[in-house]
Symmetry: C2
Subunit: 326 residues, 2 copies
Amino acid sequence: VQRVNVSEFDLIAMLRERCAVPRADVRVGIGDDGAVLRVPRGRQLVVAMDTLVAGVHFPHDTAPADIAWKALAVNLSDLAAMGAEPAWATLALTLPRAQRRWLDEFARGFAQLARAHRVALVGGDTTRGALTITVQAHGLVSPRGTLLRGAARVGDAIYVSGSLGDAAAGLAIAQGRMRGVARAVAKTLCARLDRPTPRVALGAALHGIAHAAIDVSDGLCADLAHVLDASRVGAAIDASALPSSSALRRAVPDAKARRHWQLSGGDDYELCFTAAPRAAARVAQLARTLRLPLTRIGTITRRRGLRVLDERGAEMRMSEFGYAHF
Amino acid sequence: VQRVNVSEFDLIAMLRERCAVPRADVRVGIGDDGAVLRVPRGRQLVVAMDTLVAGVHFPHDTAPADIAWKALAVNLSDLAAMGAEPAWATLALTLPRAQRRWLDEFARGFAQLARAHRVALVGGDTTRGALTITVQAHGLVSPRGTLLRGAARVGDAIYVSGSLGDAAAGLAIAQGRMRGVARAVAKTLCARLDRPTPRVALGAALHGIAHAAIDVSDGLCADLAHVLDASRVGAAIDASALPSSSALRRAVPDAKARRHWQLSGGDDYELCFTAAPRAAARVAQLARTLRLPLTRIGTITRRRGLRVLDERGAEMRMSEFGYAHF
């Protein structure tokens, strides 16, 4: 039970080198007792921390580059949902043994996403044990640009970015629960599961447009319910309006059958946000600028609770879309 | 491999409640996609992240309150070694199952230390898996008050706070490698291992006095070597000057035998710092103010490398004090 490190110094040096993202706001990075970081005047610090455990959050045989990507992506997604611009990350990596090749691949996946968003790795810890990855992402936000769960207002339109249900379908394919899907389609859906795209640019651009926001990690209904609880409002969403990717439409041609994946499937890491109806033109413009679909899927209501309406406007029962799981 | 949470909402609510430390600089704490924190003008952010793994960093049967205390303490110790004042913490807790009593005890230990230093728990994650605790501590420091490893200067006096070797002796007792120690003495030494005291007030007070600092987590020689490397200097330390607690003197009456524990034993979480010789009176005054021994143990030298001198001034071989372990 003594402090055992998996060749800690080599590993940290390698990660530091591979993830090098020069930032003027990093006064001290890896290599001291702590990192020293400069938060600019007029900006607030946003932090998000998420853990991925092998065999729980991803299969043991997941490619190390995908594990690293996802561990960072889920945290950048949280920053995006707060409207924050990512700046720095820390990484706690617990692993059974230090295999050079595994670590190389892990560092490659981490660095790919970190560089894309100019996130500097500024610290962390490496320990020996069951494969567990904790990342903390640090972002910066202007006080008025912060998107909070509790800020939804009655009458707000509810939007979702991109498309829903792909990652859950990808997981079903990976687990053999969904068969007969064309290879290219399956690959696309599984990539959504393994390499989620955090909607960072969208989150930052929603300043002045959106009221409340959350990222879709546990499933649309579950996540939207957090917004409703925090805002003390309800919502009606239109199941037939939920955006589907062409891959999901090919894998699950029946629109009704797709709803299950779209309403209750997690891991898409799209943003769900609310905005005043008069902001519709600005939302549409933003979608064009970002080349990212932003689809209106419902309305915030005074009546509490979440109602899901089918294409005829009739309320669906939870059992119809699997929300009872939560 | 779906996202599985150990009754995440109950657990987070409990920890939030138990660790409640009101701070005006927490704009958003637990309960949104991320925490939103205010860093005051003129202060920089210091972050430190450390992981403890059951069976590696502590025995499986360690009291949960001690595990939580230590997980926070080792990070506060890092902040202290940077000269930072602690402000916020995040916690990633991976545990095999959610046992109410275990969690209660864990929360109690965490809250005890968090309250003592006014550290607010602002976020984190709970997941299912092998018992692993990652804490990130966030502190604030004035740019000129930051204590860096690379700031030691030739001629500086080297100091260490408190006493050295207790935690390593405590570990030897816990593991049955040191026998025949009186019960009360053993208890004192084991408490140093299980409930280290981060030298937070000392770190903050060293502003304007110390040049370089580090906390003694891996052992005096190993940790001091990091300071020497970063500062591109050497050091000579006097083995007979190393401070011993009365408990260690009782457990190991022979001074020479104690040196092994004091030079190479880890987990004491004392601060080792360097200061100009002319600061000696201020260091002595600080020791009185804090009621904490600050002992001069050596000098920073131009000649690189770390030399350990015995009571006659002769250089000891590494094999004499176990530094070869590192």
